[in-house]
Assembly symmetry: C2
Homo-oligomer: 628 residues x 2
């Protein structure tokens, strides 16, 4: 410290003209000792980073042990994510109120003053250049440097981009990869309606309700900052992403009706994609100056354009890499080396994310479609060992990432330092999400039931209404930007809503199911057999049960006859499905595949099988989730 | 750009007094547009990062496909790591000579001038604070800002700490976890001698030879900077870490003699630990001012202290967390939930690394001992599914990390911009590593053979001599610090040595084995049976074959009778091994374990079994590698 104070006396002026025109004074004597000091400081910072991650690792370990205890004692009211959240909360409380850091810790940082926020900074230390990467905004008054505890709490937080680039991709990919495809495709129409139309409706309803709420707050003088209409829409978009984790874990354990499961799961998975894209469209709508509260036709068109472009771009990219992986695994004998195969599968799926980010499309959405494609095509080409390896790998990654996010959520309730808790806003938001969910489920179910031969019962609708928990995706979207007052208020309210829905709705799932007399204990095998029986009567039997529309049936037949045989080792060989003129091509595309595939797979499929027959049998044979 | 130029005209002075006393000028008008620009820049930077990782992902994918082709065609001269290196080289060449970046890319960075290199920087942009984290030193002249290609190449490099904190831990843990324990423990004496005594000898021999070489270079005027004796010792330490990957892959494929395999594997695994600790001891020896070339008795003692403290600390920490994991998995019924079990295993192993780093011990070394302990104890408690899950998980992580490092090595040969290639130094280094390796293997083998009943044959010695490839660890240690001229010369030479040994020694392994008439095609099962037969004659039979010393036998008996039954579900129950007075304690520690364990395991062990008998049968039952 003494050295540093001595240093102040002498100073030399450097002027470095770079693009951002920052001019700086600097002092450049007394090298030796300071270098040793900074070396020590850098070590100290690494040590702190390690400790930070260690805290979370231990938190997760504790969560795992408690989950085990709960599972062991068959205690179902609190899901592991809720538990992770509670432990996170406890650590947050301890960090906030229990730990007092001696004030010299804040000396760790060097403060610069700049004009703008570049992505990287270069520091010139007597000729040596050191690069610094942007970590994110720091909370706290720039003029009060004596807040060591605040500094410590700040250090317990992660860069929000960590969620989007590290934690969410495996969660979303796993969701796509573990879709129970048979039930998913049976209810595709309903799922797409809920996920696309429903989420958009829900976003707008929530946005409008919140706009009313904000107007009310303005009137009663509860609003301390600006809150535009676009902010309300943004809030509607991020809070509309429902999280399947808690409810589906309970559904799985209780073996709830598979169609209800498929509806819930399919909706909440696609939901996330729609919410991400919607919220980024709203952001794209904003930059037209400060007059954001005025509705602007052209900007809305831009938003719609962004929405459609990002969604279709992600879909195209995700399926393209999925198809590529399928082709690679089909036309090589990689299946002889499961390690190589698994590594390739992992790398190709990860590339999807990176490629999407490099192309400025949303990686998380692309990864979802990639996961579905991989499950639908590539999975059939993998060796038995790779099938279980990939499933287990993504299951583990998903488990770790999810619990990490939830425990971080708990922590952040106390460690985030710019919370804006407003009772009016929070009550309004809770009301709005219920209204938004209702406006999604009930009208759409009514419309869907007009076309469905087996309607979605009222009980199912109530379950869907109350199972709309909010989780990881909503949190990640809301923590991404907490720069303005409006965003901070949203973030704090989002946190509380996640807590509320996870504990109240999540904890209430089991009682609700028994209150609504939903059939539980439905064995998958039983269902399976039932389906096969229905199917063997011909296509009519299936149509009588499910809403497989004409267009969709067309696609399914096409997929089964041409796409699956082209990309995988399943289904009838191309030589029998393609017209005679294409036989040479078909033979060239088929030969190797059918050499590779187990002969029993071919024997099971007579080339003249009916669509319904085929879809049922292939699914039974190769559904990743059916093997559980 | 125009806006920025306008900004220069007006400026306001901020003075922020922080510990490092940096005084800065700054300009703080015109906010709106600049913010949008920086937003765009931040996005651009994220896009570039994604592209960077994408390049490596695609490189690895390409490597995997080529490896498959090689394996498919049974082409054995080039190992996958060599291949990864070649592809990395190609990309490096393309980046260096093929890509030309338009000059405005360098505008991305804001340049500050500072007095020292803190771990984090805070940038003040009109009241908002943004935190920046240290990424590492940047190459290039601070005064020439117009080198866009250099900037691009710089961006293709990773922070060296990535190797130590992300890539090496899984590699080293996997090495520990996949040790073929039976053969490892049989040859423990020899392995420890080669790894500890041998590596120290090798480091000093190389250090001395290099000191001579540097002296020669000074005489003939080839040295452009300072190169101290400690630098030579440091070089000796880092280059003494041999890499098992390439050679052992070939050994595995050809089914070389298991004892030779165990010697090579055990040595190169422990080797790495010794090299890390030795090199950090040499660094600890340095900071005593500038007079580093003078031998200083006290500093040497400090170094020795550091060496012993770090090594024993890492050992204690690694085994402690391993033992803790064993206890947790033993006394809970986590095995009913393989996902939880695997997650716990992963988190506990990772905690070892983090804890070690938080305690300022070397995490990589702690992780190695943790891996060995997990394999020896915890593995026995895991459910069958978790056994395969953990093995497969770490196998995959190891594969990805290793190939990443090797392809990065290839890339860095062209992308690193401050290479110092000196033919004299490189030739000297090549000579030195051969001499160092010879000084390790031949004298120690001679000494070991004095005590061994089955001596290490001359052929084995020659194989060990020429199989000392250099790989990931040497590279990671040498890239960690490239600040001085000496370190840069070491780094460049290390790279070339890795290339040379991987291609020449690695490619020459198969011809060498056949030239030396080493027995190949030894089936593991065959060996196994042979061992069991030998063992059933009693302890003498085993002693006749292997150098199991008295002290070691004592430990083995103790481990088998008390430690294993305490920590795992294997071996005789504690109730039968502990003296009668401890029966209540023994019962309390045993009951649950033996309830949990499969009854066949207990039935196989009559409590009065001989040491040798037991060790053979438990190994056969539960050796992680024996199940391959």
């Amino acid at each position: 410290m003494g050295t540093a104070e001595l240093c102040v006396s002498r100073s030399r002026k450097y002027i470095i003209c770079c693009f951002f025109c920052l001019t700086l004074f600097s002092i450049s004597e007394c090298t030796g000792l300071v270098d040793a000091v900074t070396e020590r400081k850098a070590e100290e910072s690494h040590r702190q980073d390690s400790t930070k991650v260690l805290i979370f690792t231990l938190l997760l370990t504790l969560t795992i042990l408690t989950i085990w205890l709960f599972k062991h004692r068959r205690f179902r009211f609190l899901h592991e994510t809720g538990l992770a959240m509670i432990y996170g909360l406890l650590v947050g409380v301890i960090l906030r109120f229990g730990v007092h850091v001696p004030p010299d810790v804040s000396n760790d940082t060097l403060t610069c003053v700049g004009k703008s926020r570049p992505s990287s900074l270069v520091l010139n230390v007597s000729g040596h250049l050191y690069e610094y990467a942007l970590r994110g905004e720091v909370e706290g008054d720039p003029h009060s440097q004596d807040l060591p505890n605040a500094d410590m709490l700040r250090k317990a937080t992660f860069d929000p981009e960590v969620f989007f680039n590290i934690l969410l991709p495996p969660i979303i990919f796993h969701a796509g990869y573990s879709l129970k495809r048979r039930h998913f495709f049976r209810n595709l129409g309903a799922i797409l309606t809920y996920a696309f139309v429903g989420t958009v409706i829900s976003s707008f309803v929530i946005g409008l309700v919140m706009y009313g709420c904000v107007a009310l707050m303005k009137v009663i003088g509860q609003l301390d900052g600006e809150f535009f209409f676009t902010d309300c829409l943004f809030f509607g978009a991020i809070i509309s992403a429902t999280d399947p984790v808690t409810v589906l874990a309970i559904f799985n354990e209780l073996k709830v009706d598979v169609d209800l499961y498929a509806l819930m799961f399919g909706e909440s998975v696609l939901n996330d994609a729609v919410a991400i894209v919607l919220s980024s469209s709203v952001v794209a709508y904003q930059p037209s100056g400060d007059s954001v509260q005025v509705l602007d036709g052209r900007a809305m068109l831009t938003s719609l354009g962004v929405f459609l472009a990002v969604l279709s771009g992600s879909f195209a990219l995700g399926s393209a890499t999925g198809v590529l992986t399928a082709l690679v695994t089909k036309f090589t004998r990689l299946r002889d080396f499961p390690l190589l195969e698994t590594a390739l599968f992992f790398l190709m799926s990860w590339s999807t994310f990176l490629l999407a980010e490099a192309c400025n499309i949303t990686g998380v959405v692309a990864v979802l479609f990639c996961g579905i494609t991989q499950a639908h095509y590539t999975y059939n080409n993998l060796s038995a060992e790779s099938k279980s390896r990939t499933k287990e790998l993504f299951e583990l990654l998903n488990f770790l990432a999810e619990n990490f996010i939830f425990s971080y959520m708990g922590l952040t309730l106390f460690s985030f330092q710019k919370h804006v808790f407003n009772p009016v806003f929070i009550t309004g938001a809770l009301l709005a999400i219920l209204l938004g969910r209702a406006a999604n489920i009930y009208p759409l179910s009514f419309l869907l039931n007009l076309g469905r031969t087996n309607p979605i019962s009222h009980c199912f609708q109530h379950v869907m209404m109350f199972s709309g928990l909010r989780g990881a995706m909503t949190f990640a979207l809301s923590i991404r930007d907490t720069a303005t007052y409006a965003r901070r208020m949203m973030f704090s309210s989002t946190l509380l809503i996640v807590f509320f829905t996870v504990f109240v709705f999540g904890g209430g799932t089991t009682p609700m199911l028994s209150f609504l007399k939903i059939r539980v204990g439905v064995e998958e095998e039983e269902e399976e057999e039932e389906a096969t029986v229905t199917v063997s009567d011909g296509t009519a039997g299936r149509d009588g049960r499910h809403d497989t529309a004409w267009l969709f049936r067309m696609w399914y037949t096409f997929d089964h006859k041409y796409v699956k045989p082209l990309l995988t080792h399943s289904g009838p060989p191309l030589t029998s499905t393609l017209p005679a003129c294409c036989t040479p091509l078909a033979r060239c595309l088929t030969t190797q595949a059918y050499e590779d595939s187990d002969s029993e797979l071919i024997l099971n499929h007579s080339p003249s099988m009916l669509y319904s027959d085929l879809s049922a049998s292939t699914d039974t044979l190769r559904d990743p989730s059916a093997q559980e």
